[in-house]
Symmetry: C2
Amino acid sequence: MTTKQPNPQTANNVNPAEALRTLCEKSHPAVAAEALSALDVAAAWDILRDVTPSIRTEIFSHLTPSLQVEMVGTLPRADMARLLSDMPPDDRADLFRRLPEESRDAVLPALAEAEREDIRRLTDYEDGTSGAVMTSEYATLPPDLTVTDAIERLREIAPDKETIYYSYVVDDERKLLGFVSLKDLILARRDATIRDIMHEDVIFARASDDQEDAARLIQKYDLIALPIVNEDGALVGIITHDDAIDIITQEHTEDMRRFMAIAGSAGTEGYLRTPFWKHVQQRVGWLVGLAALGLVSGLIIHEFEATLTQVIILALYMPMVADTGGNTGSQSATVVVRALALREIAPRDAWRVLLKEFQVSVFLAAVLGCLAWAKVVWLSQDTALPPGITLSNVALVIAAALTGQVVTATLIGALLPLAAARLKLDPAVVASPALTTIVDITGLLIYFFTARWLLGL
Amino acid sequence: MTTKQPNPQTANNVNPAEALRTLCEKSHPAVAAEALSALDVAAAWDILRDVTPSIRTEIFSHLTPSLQVEMVGTLPRADMARLLSDMPPDDRADLFRRLPEESRDAVLPALAEAEREDIRRLTDYEDGTSGAVMTSEYATLPPDLTVTDAIERLREIAPDKETIYYSYVVDDERKLLGFVSLKDLILARRDATIRDIMHEDVIFARASDDQEDAARLIQKYDLIALPIVNEDGALVGIITHDDAIDIITQEHTEDMRRFMAIAGSAGTEGYLRTPFWKHVQQRVGWLVGLAALGLVSGLIIHEFEATLTQVIILALYMPMVADTGGNTGSQSATVVVRALALREIAPRDAWRVLLKEFQVSVFLAAVLGCLAWAKVVWLSQDTALPPGITLSNVALVIAAALTGQVVTATLIGALLPLAAARLKLDPAVVASPALTTIVDITGLLIYFFTARWLLGL
């Protein structure tokens, strides 16, 4: 898990800047970008300025978006325009989208008409859609070309295309007719036409589709690239396999953050570069909301204060019942959220899921109820109880309440993500801490009503 | 986000089995596999039996591993051997690994020597390593071939290789010298030799490396395939881009399950096909463990029972302090676990992470402390208090304890995943429910000592 480096020409007698420049020329652009990220902006430009232009652009495209914005901000307008012109269209559109208003207005007139148009088209799509991540550097072929001519054509255009391993066959209106892989071309008879050998059942996505759906298609069908069409069925871009990995990783980060009650997107700066106030901002909203929701629990406890004052032992076991409900509810929510994300289940399976979770919860409730009973009997053997109430009665009440709470919390944990999915929301909006707070409420209600009923309070 | 289907030749007059068979022949094997998964094993074989053998094998390879095992179990030995021989080597090794002992012993002698050897080699590597997921169907080229001859060679071997877009250049001992892409070959002068045009700085992984590290290399360097070498540096296989997506998705699922205290692997059956007892098994262990850990909280509460009996209002706010600590601790753990998984931070950054989390937690603590104070003053305005203790004193105690708990819980939430990573464990072993239970303990201690100290109990 390492890379064979070129012979170290960076031996003695060479200053660090020179060594970095050699690294930029000889190593993979991802490696060079990583090394440059440690420098400040001016020092990074000092190195990059003397690197071959095509390599410079590649390295720049591998920097994190926030660093790109920072670095591009220090350039004169003409240099900024040249850099943008050289970048791959999807990376360029992405950078453009992040530039401050004034930089955008400054650089646009300095770009060629074709690039301006390309940026306009790619930035037109909403963030998170397939259109916003696609690239316009794909290879197309007309259906009537012969295989020999097609290979010759690909030779000519290859340097400008993100991939030539898939070529898309389009008609005069750019309607998608089919695709051929370079492997098909290599294997085919030289005088066959593209129409003869193309695959007509093309898997594609629409530009307005969610980027995650496009990435999942690439995953499902093991594709190197997925064509993206507009509302008229005309080819407007492709999403490549490496973008699909990045999208899936990004969506997973979002899911996990959302599920653990952290707002906003993860950002591209990484943990350490994200400023303190942004970390606070992403967490404080949810925490305040949860504190507000916690008021309901507070009101319920307040309502039953008389009962608790009378039988103090019940107050001592409130946290146990609340925690256990939170744990079982979070487990079922996790399993359901992930199964929905992997498309293993859909909202229409709700009844089957709830039935299964019910079975699981009954078993878990039985085990945890017995443990709770034993815990109360052992821990509170010397606790003073009000007249007429025995320890075994109290233990039974607590165990019964906990049993009811485990079943309820498990079902709520499964139900809420399914409901979110049915409402076309991301199932992970049902954050685990929110779920914990919600099942606290049901738990306390079950607890106090069980106590009143069984102890006759 | 849909596929252009071939013209529906499955109109009237055609029975469902016939329609499915047509689907198998005409659609992407992933689609056919999905359709067949709904059938029982015998019915699925009825359909597959009449499908072109090469397509049949492809469809079979797209079925879930557990269904493959089930289906292969019903075959006579000779058919089983034929199916295994036709499968891609990585899928075949994977299936073989899952077969029951007696099926393996039965089918091995029926296979050709070369395939037996291939299976032995691929199943030799431990589950979760790069060696266990690699395929042996890659293209190699000797360094002295000309470009024309190399393309001709690739034409011949293409049908048997997982990808011909990257070819690996090896010497007589199979030592990896470099690689060429098919794009390089198409662009190169016809009489150049492979040695002239190959890239010598090859990114590779070792067969014993973690599969996730290999997948992250594919992601970082935007590769179509990653070569895998053994301890001697000899090429033994490749991992392709589509495997990388599957590995990353699988690791995401594992991380999320682990973090939410669910044991075992997600399995390949999907949520609904996983039997009830397996769901129970994956959850009950952690829940019982958490209940055991909760005993510590129980003992602490028991220890301070006298204090609670004296000032009952303190018992009423125990759940609030515990919940808030759990929420803030889970947030910081989530952020740190994810940053570690994305390699944004490493264990050596521990001090910087803790400093940042400390800053964040102080701010959060201030906000949540004020809210807690207001909550107590408002909710408990009519609560009876023991002589000498005022409501504003109690509110101050509760707010102070909550403030201390938010800071402590946030730091513990950040520290534990970093410690796990330092011990070479997956940071996600610090499951959020376990963390919640641990910070319950610190929270109760802080709560009771603050109360004793400030109220002079």
